[in-house]
């Protein structure tokens, strides 16, 4: 009975691991892996969205800074125009303009000094007395305003002419109704004082905001720190986000602050009318702390659930794999010969059914085996009984049949020796015949007992060198009849398992026969060898003697059956019967081929299983 198998089964067998437990592990592993990949992607999305949200809030803060600062600068511009009109009006009062400017400075947040210059750049009035008669006509912002612009803002200067500290300037041109430049109102602003202006901005934890001038130099930073000139100018190289913003578009990204050396999420927004940049940033740590915390919790929970799932999966997997393995071990134990072994009936339903089926089958095999064993025991005991009977019978034969023979032999001899003169030749002849018959019967009895003994002896198997045994027998035969010249050829290296005594006996009967039946040949030749016949190793003893008629081939192996009536050839006709028994006891077969006058070949095989 065969069942159709889907082609995918073959593929599965080739690709998947062989063991069920491995396949289950693979199944669980793949399921959990895909779950983890999905979770990982979701976490990544959440993290990325949180990050972009954080960046967006920095942009908003930066825009706030930008708006505030731009408004501040516009306010300064308006104040400048007002102040300019006032200063022009006061131009005939010595020192009045200076006082007005100084008073304005004191009331104005973030302003360091205010100066009024002529259209050629000479300071006419200033809040700082030492600035008077100074000259600003060489400044770029001066040229911008002189060139026609309403106002201009300078980059941050490392050292202001008036304060000697970093400063930037907002210069406003004061013109009459025809546009003629009457003078410039110049506000000097020290960045350190901008805090009050810009403090309107909400301060989140760890957040800093900043202002860069048109050259990317840090003008102001909050929280305020001592800024060396290097810390102000180093941003152009360290802050790529700011550099991008200088192109005119808001930019966001991650930077490393050259002040704190921390990673920051930063937004840089251009202040369009000034060409400056407003920035806001927070350390990555603080900005992403909530999401990181949440993710850590999520990952811990996920790991916990994954571990629990793995544990459960392993438990369930074992509940499938372990009963199967146990069943396999049980089947193996049974197969190894422990017929009373039964499978453990537990586990998944299918396994229980298989185990149940196996147990029923095993029970039947066991019962069958026991019946068979009992039968074998009975037969063996019967055989042993019959062997004992045979033994006792042969004992009787040995003892009892011999005595009368000896008497016949002995008394006929005695008669011939001591009473010869009273017997005629005929009487003597009869006595001789009695004697010969008695001797012959003695030999028959001996042979018969020999046959019985072959059946009785236990076979002791060992590896035999048949070539050496044959050579030994031939040497013995040559010694017993030194006159005879027989050519004997024995194939070397014939090795086979067998009982040494019995195979020697069989070979010696075959070789004796070969010697005997080549007696009347001029060139007697005997060959002992081996060949393959029908997948079997067959040994043979071949002679070129008198041979026999194949019609009688089967009768050759019957006990006491002789084909030839030639009295010159001795023998009881028991030899081949013995050979056949010996070969049969080795699980082999013996047969013969012959032709009258040409010779005979005797073949035998030995059981291949032993």
């Amino acid at each position: 009975m065969t069942s159709a198998r889907a082609p995918w089964m073959a593929t599965a067998t080739r690709v998947l691991p062989a063991r069920i437990s491995s396949r289950l592990s693979l199944l669980i592993g793949l399921t959990i892996l895909s779950m983890l990949l999905l979770l990982g992607w979701m976490y990544h999305q959440r993290y990325a969205s949180q990050r972009s949200q954080a960046l967006q809030s920095e942009v908003e803060v930066a825009q706030g800074v930008a708006t505030t600062f731009a408004a501040y600068i516009r306010d300064i511009h308006r104040q400048s125009i007002t102040l300019g009109s006032a200063v022009l009006a006061l131009s005939h009062h010595e020192g009045a303009a200076d006082r007005l400017l100084a008073s304005t400075v004191s009331h104005y947040e973030g302003i360091s000094n205010i100066s009024w210059t002529s259209p050629s750049g000479h300071v006419l009035a200033s809040s700082e007395p030492n600035a008077i008669r100074g000259y600003f006509g060489d400044r770029p912002y001066f040229h911008e305003v002189a060139g026609g612009r309403d106002w201009a803002i300078s980059a941050l200067l490392p050292q202001g002419r008036i304060t000697g500290r970093p400063v930037f300037v907002v210069a406003t041109g004061i013109r009459d109704k025809r546009g003629q430049l009457l003078g410039l109102m110049i506000f000097g602003i020290e960045p350190t004082r901008l805090g009050d202006v810009l403090l309107t901005q909400r301060r989140a934890e760890g957040r800093s905001y900043s202002l860069f001038d048109g050259n990317g130099v840090l003008v102001y930073r909050n929280p305020e720190v001592d800024l060396t000139w290097e810390l102000r100018t180093g941003w152009h190289d360290a802050d790529p986000v700011m550099v991008r913003a200088l192109q005119g578009q808001p930019a966001t990204g991650e930077i490393v602050s050259i002040i704190t050396n921390e990673h920051h999420l930063a937004a840089r927004v251009p202040i369009s009318e000034l060409g400056w940049i407003a920035g806001a940033s927070r350390p990555v740590e603080t900005a992403l702390a909530p999401i990181r915390h949440a993710l850590t919790m999520d990952i811990m929970l996920t790991s916990l659930f994954t571990a629990i799932s793995l544990g459960l999966a392993a438990f369930i997997g074992r509940s499938i794999a372990v009963p199967l393995r146990r069943l396999q071990e049980d089947v193996q134990a049974f197969a190894k010969g422990d017929l009373s072994h039964r499978a453990d009936v537990s586990g998944p339903e299918e396994v229980i059914r298989v185990a149940d089926g196996f147990n029923r089958m095993a029970g039947e095999i066991h019962t069958f085996q026991e019946t068979l064993d009992a039968r074998v025991r009975q037969r063996t005991s019967e055989l042993e009984t019959s062997n004992r009977e045979l033994e006792s019978f042969s004992h009787t034969v040995a003892h009892d049949l011999r005595s009368p023979l000896r008497a016949m032999d002995g008394f006929s001899r005695y008669l011939l020796r001591h009473y010869a003169e009273r017997l005629d030749d005929r009487g003597k002849d009869y006595l001789n015949r009695i004697q010969a018959a008695a001797q012959r019967m003695g030999r028959l009895i001996d042979d018969l007992l020999g046959m019985v003994r072959i059946s009785r002896t236990t076979i002791r198997m060992q590896m035999l060198d048949l070539s050496a045994i044959a050579a030994d027998i031939v040497a013995e035969l040559r010694r017993s009849d030194p006159q005879r010249q027989v050519s004997v050829e024995i194939e070397p290296g014939m090795k086979a398992p067998g009982d040494k005594e019995l195979l020697r006996l069989a070979l010696s009967h075959l070789l004796e026969n070969a010697f005997k039946f080549t007696k009347n040949r001029g060139d007697p030749r005997i060959r002992v060898g081996v060949t393959r016949i029908k997948e079997q190793t067959a040994y043979f003893v071949q002679d070129n003697g008198m041979g026999f008629d194949m019609a009688y081939a089967d009768k050759l192996f019957l006990p006491f059956h002789r084909l030839q009536q030639d009295d010159t050839i001795p023998g009881t006709g028991i030899g081949l019967a013995m050979v056949q028994r010996i070969i049969a006891r080795h699980g082999g077969r013996v047969w013969t081929e012959g032709e009258v006058g040409k010779g005979a070949t005797f073949w035998f095989t030995l059981g291949e299983t032993t």
């Binding site: 000896r406 008497a407 002995g410 001899r413």
Partner: protein
């Protein structure tokens, strides 16, 4: 010197006669005593039963013992001989038709001095008895007895 005597334990009258003829031919035994079963053999040796009047010091030089005997088997006789103190060393030769390995082994195990299978061929039988007579009657020095 004591007269050499052979005790033949043999139930077959043919074999008895053949043995007697063989011994006569080889001129070794002056006297041959024959008993025909195992029990009689023991009675003769131990001077019991019908042989109770016999002189116990009159012991054979050698016992020729058949195995298959009426009443008591040859091996039983041998066992009894070896148990009795004054026959313990008596030379016993088993002379039987059997050459079964078992019989040979048991014979020697019980203390037989020799085991000879009666040859079927009378000529060989004659030769065997002759050699046996020469060896045990002439060459062999029997154990001292009733000195």
């Amino acid at each position: 010197m004591k007269e050499p005597v052979i005790l033949l334990v043999e139930d077959n009258p043919d074999d008895e006669e053949l043995t007697r003829l063989a011994l006569e031919d080889s001129n070794v035994a002056n006297r041959l005593f024959v008993v025909r079963d195992g029990q009689e053999a023991l009675d003769w040796l131990f001077c019991e039963g019908v042989h109770s009047g016999r002189d116990p010091c009159f012991t054979p030089t050698v016992v020729l013992l058949d195995l298959k005997l009426p009443k008591k088997s040859g091996l039983e006789v041998l066992e009894a001989i070896r148990k009795k103190e004054y026959t313990r060393r008596l030379p016993v030769v088993i002379l039987t038709s059997s050459k079964e390995e078992q019989d040979v082994l048991r014979g020697y195990n019980l203390g037989a001095n020799s085991y000879i299978q009666k040859p079927v061929d009378y000529a060989q039988f004659l030769e065997a008895i002759r050699q046996l007579g020469v060896y045990w009657m002439v060459l062999n020095e029997p154990p001292p007895h009733c000195a």
